[in-house]
C-alpha cells in the first residue's frame, strides 16, 4: 500500500467524519447544512485522489476525475435548493439582516407592478383606438 495514497484516504475520511460530527452537534438547520455540504465534498475529493494514486490505471483516474467534477458541480446546487426550500418552513436563527426576505418582498412588488401595467394596457387600449378613429 502506497503511504501517500493511505494518507490521502485517511485525511479524506477524517473530513467526512468531521462533517458528520458537525451535523450531530450543531443546533440549527442552516448550521447543519453548512457542516454537511462542504466537509464531505472535500473529503470525497481527497479520498478520490488517494484511490487514484493507489489504483493508478487510466480508467480509474478518469472515472474518479468525473466523480469529483460532478460532485463539485452538483453538491452546491443541491444544498442551495434545499436551504432555499426550507427557508420559512423551519425556525432559523438569524445573526444579521434577512436578505432573502428582502429579495422575496422586492420580487412580489415587481410582480404586482407588472400586473398593474398589464391591466392598465388592457384598459388603455380601447379608448386610445377610439381617439384614433375620431
Amino acid at each position: 500500500m502506497n503511504v501517500v495514497a493511505g494518507i490521502f484516504l485517511i485525511v479524506g475520511s477524517l473530513l467526512t467524519m468531521i462533517g458528520g460530527i458537525g451535523v450531530v452537534r450543531f443546533s440549527d438547520l442552516m448550521s447543519r447544512v453548512h457542516a454537511a455540504a462542504k466537509a464531505p465534498t472535500l473529503g470525497l475529493l481527497l479520498v478520490a485522489i488517494g484511490a487514484a494514486i493507489e489504483i493508478g490505471s487510466g480508467k480509474a483516474v478518469v472515472t474518479l476525475l468525473l466523480v469529483v467534477v460532478l460532485q463539485l458541480l452538483t453538491s452546491p446546487v443541491a444544498t442551495h435548493v434545499l436551504a432555499r426550500a426550507s427557508y420559512g418552513q423551519v425556525d432559523i436563527e438569524l445573526d444579521g439582516g434577512d436578505d432573502l426576505a428582502q429579495h422575496f418582498a422586492e420580487q412580489r412588488a415587481e410582480e404586482a407592478a407588472a400586473k398593474r401595467v398589464e391591466k392598465g394596457a388592457d384598459q388603455g387600449a380601447e379608448p386610445r383606438r377610439d381617439q384614433g378613429d375620431v
Partner: protein, 83 residues
C-alpha cells in the same frame, strides 16, 4: 491504513444516521441523508482502493448522481409541503 479510513467513515455514517433518525424537521433528515450518501460514495472508493481494482468505480458515478437528483426532488417536496 485502509482500516483507519474505514473506521473513520463508519463513525461518520453513524453520526449522519443519528441525525436522520433524530432530526426534528424533514430538511434536517434530507441533509443527513445527503451526508450518508457521501459516506457511501467514499466507502466504495476506499473499497476499490483496498481491492486495487477499478471495476466498482462506475457505481460511484451512479450513486452520486442519484443522490443529487434525490436531494433536489426532496427540496421541491419540502418547498411545497413544508418542514
Amino acid at each position: 491504513m485502509i482500516v483507519t479510513a474505514i473506521v473513520l467513515l463508519a463513525v461518520a455514517g453513524g453520526c449522519f444516521l443519528y441525525r436522520v433518525l433524530r432530526g426534528p424537521s424533514i430538511p434536517d433528515r434530507v441533509v443527513a441523508l445527503d451526508g450518508v450518501l457521501s459516506v457511501v460514495v467514499s466507502g466504495i472508493i476506499v473499497a476499490a482502493a483496498k481491492a486495487n481494482s477499478d471495476i466498482t468505480l462506475a457505481t460511484v458515478l451512479v450513486v452520486s448522481l442519484v443522490g443529487f437528483v434525490g436531494t433536489v426532488a426532496l427540496g421541491r417536496f419540502v418547498e411545497r409541503r413544508g418542514g
